[in-house]
Amino acid sequence: MAADIYTPGVVAGRLDAETIAANFADLHPPYDGHEAAVAADRCYFCHDAPCITACPTGIDIPLFIRQIATGTPEAAAKTILSSNILGGMCARVCPTETLCEEACVREAAEGKPVEIGRLQRHATDTLMAAGVHPFDRAAPTGKRIAVVGAGPAGLACAHRLAMKGHDVDLYDARPKGGGLNEYGIAAYKTVGGFAQAELDWLLKIGGISVHYGAALGRELSLEALRDSHDAVFLGIGLGGVNALRVEGQVTEGVMDAVDFIAALRQSGDKTDIPVGRQVVVIGGGMTAVDAAVQAKLLGAEQVTIAYRRGREAMSASRYEQNLAASKGVRLMFNAQPEALHGSGAVEAVEFALTQSVDGQLRLTGETRLVPADMVLRAIGQSLDGTPEGIALAGGKIAVSGAGRTSVAGVWAGGDCAAGGDDLTVTAVAEGRDAAEDIHASLLG
């Protein structure tokens, strides 16, 4: 008999392929032309617009929206992409509710911002559907730069360098490029193989040689890269996962949320992805929400996100919290994991309840036992090994200026670098700015 939502344990195929497909459909379906025109018309074309300031890549949002409104979405796309070459993905995954759309004056005026993210997607999708790559390379400089990590930071860096006329070797440890765009984001945010399509489109600039399955500390060494290249950019992300320090040595049914998400993204119809009947996700960030929501969409009967602090401290935005709640995920606040119970497989998670007193988290003395046959750890990622000789800050690569590391000729950006929010859009900004700095220092 096939599994259903009540089948105990961690099993695949709780829902049929059709239901799963419907559950994982595009979270924000693209605008059609008329919808885009109506949405674009709401933009006030603010002076020195707050949305631009709020965008980590500084996209000229009023200009691109006006270009949509006047029937030239291709020009709008070029405006977007000239600031943010991954504008297509950012249109899908940016927490716009805490960035551009939060800053939109219409949010202040009526609590309903211009839907900048969806407009951006309309523009970039239009251009990409036409197969147009709107940028050309400058005359060759004869310089060769190694970019390690083909995630958002590495891609943005590689593209900008290629545009400036440099040749780029782009390395990635995984068999595919894209980084978290390909492996780390909820499937319903980027449907239809968009991450790979965007990557292919980006590489059309030319001058970028890709080398997959090449990891720093494995096939690559920083010293060798420095010898063979004029500069090195590290956009290696955070390959490690923070450990969950609790009592109990139960391991069956316990996994990292990032692995669960990656498996989902690499699966076809997702009927092969096992999920528990009672899932507990530990953590309070976007990864926790992405994992919890997808567990629910796969057919888990009960899914709980347990976060040790209060709602206001949760790094997942209120929008993400509401999304999770709307899908039937229970949000449990002020619950600190203490122990995993179970003989063999996990059966329950014991939480100590907390409260925040003067900014300090205190235990109340009460505990809660939440039944679980699957526990997903989403308590943060960490740098997986330190590239030799590089100084760290707060467990990440220390950088100054536009991503300069402690080692001459080596830059870093994205999640692996200290500072900044761990967002796709921030990574793009850092990769782009590092490329500009590399260019200036090589040709300066």
């Binding site: 018309d41 709401r42 002076h47 617009a49 004056v105 219409r106 005026a109």
Partner: protein, 433 residues
């Protein structure tokens, strides 16, 4: 609820909202539906002389411009007068007037500029029992090429002549519909009055090309790759129409001449404005063509509510704004205002700043935190910031109290009225008595 019943040239209607001569009034079917919806009267679509019916183009007849969300702001047409046989129209007019005796039934007429042509058609119209006639001297397209419509309306002597013929040949009140495609609307209005017309109606449509197709390079609406200027109407033309109505209302030579106001009336508010500038009734077309006949219900309820709130009768509203329409030279130059920004209402879009800084008088400061404040020393009170602000009443123009110093000019604001005619900079100024 306020009494909206109207007596215009002795023609009674339950409200001042008439449908203008146009496609909505081309046949009994539409007009009866309009009356059921509540319209106070109609001006039947223009009749031509007996004979082979008018031929229209068989491609698009309308072009348009749009605002946000494809809201129709301006409509342009190249349709001619009725293309149905004269006797069919006359039969239907008679039947509808018989069935709806309390509604105004005006018949629009356009025949060649020969007395015989008018003599021939007037008795036929009179026989229908219609309440009045409207002489179509306005249509700027098609018929004007044949010496009718605006070709007549642009020559005051013709207007006077035809109006006189009509007055001599019918007992019905005569309304002359004026074209705005002239330089000074007062001349045709005076001519109509001199010819004995009982009233004028205005404006007819404005010669226009709504857009050019940038692929085919044809004006729109395009007929097999070519376009011809059409007649423009709809909300976009209202300001032009209001001014022309006011010009006639305040012209000493035509003062008191009844006016039926036309041009972009879309809501009760638009209608009230025409009435305040001297119109006795208003005529509506584009709004009905855009939204259907039902809109008259909002016009009726809105105007009634307004009159009730103002404790005013319809008659008291008519012409109420006319004394306040004056020439520039009589505007009070001692009325000094400054822009004031309500910081609580401000949403910090900065449009006022961009407009003032780039295109006006650099009188708005942008301070840290996107705080926008007015620099009174530069503000000339042009009102552009008010006009571009997306939040109603966020920026207002506040008068400087007499006796205070205007920081821009350094001069004390005078309490007394003072205008250009007595201003020291005016070489032709007369010394104040």
């Amino acid at each position: 609820m306020a009494d909206l019943s109207t007596d215009f040239l002795g023609i009674k209607s339950p409200n001042p909202f008439w449908l203008a001569s146009a496609p909505p009034t081309d046949k009994a079917y539409n007009v009866e539906r309009a009356f059921k919806a509540g319209w106070g009267g109609v001006v039947w679509k223009t009749l031509g002389e007996a004979g082979p019916p008018i031929v229209n183009v068989n491609g698009p007849r309308y072009g348009a411009i749009w605002g946000a969300d494809r809201r129709l702001l301006g409509l342009n047409n190249i349709e001619l007068i009725t293309d149905r046989p004269l006797e069919v129209n006359l039969r239907e007019i008679k039947q509808v007037k018989r069935d709806w005796p309390d509604r105004a039934m005006i018949v629009s007429i356009m025949v060649p500029c020969e007395e015989q042509a008018w003599k021939a058609i007037l008795p036929l119209v009179e026989e229908t029992g219609a309440d009045g006639i409207e002489l179509n001297f306005g249509c700027p397209h098609g018929m004007s090429e044949r010496g009718m419509g605006s070709a007549v309306g642009q020559v005051p002597e013709y207007i006077e002549m035809v109006a006189r013929w009509c007055k001599q040949n019918t007992r019905m009140p005569v309304i002359v519909k004026l074209t705005p495609n002239i330089t000074d609307i007062r001349y045709p209005a005076r001519a109509a009055m001199k010819g004995g017309a009982d009233a004028v109606s205005l404006i007819n449509t404005i010669s226009s090309i709504t857009s050019v197709n940038l692929d085919s390079f044809s004006p729109e609406p395009s007929i097999d790759g070519k376009g011809s200027h059409g007649g423009y109407c709809g909300p976009a033309v209202k300001p032009i129409a209001l001014n022309m109505v006011a010009e006639i209302a305040r012209d000493p030579e035509t003062r008191g001449l009844p006016i039926s106001g036309i041009g972009g009336v879309t809501t009760w508010r638009d209608a009230a404005e025409f009435l305040a500038l001297g119109a006795g009734t208003v005529q509506v077309c584009t709004a009905a063509m855009t939204y259907g006949f039902k809109i008259v219900q909002e016009m009726i309820s809105g105007l009634s509510q307004y009159l009730d709130e103002k404790e005013m009768t319809l008659g008291e509203l008519t012409g109420r704004a006319v004394p306040n329409v004056t020439d520039w030279q009589y505007l009070n130059l001692n009325y000094v205002t400054k822009a004031r920004i309500d910081q609580d209402a401000c949403i910090k879009c900065g449009r006022c700043y961009a407009a003032c800084e780039d295109t006006s008088h650099q009188a708005i400061w942008m301070k840290p935190g996107r705080v926008f404040e007015v620099n009174d020393a530069e503000c000339v009170a042009c009102n552009l910031c008010v006009d571009v602000c997306p939040v109603e009443d966020c920026i207002t123009m506040e008068r400087l109290a007499p006796g205070t110093v205007d920081p821009r000019t350094g001069r004390v604001v005078e309490a007394e009225y003072g205008n250009w005619t007595t201003h020291p900079n005016n070489p032709a100024a007369k010394a104040a008595e």
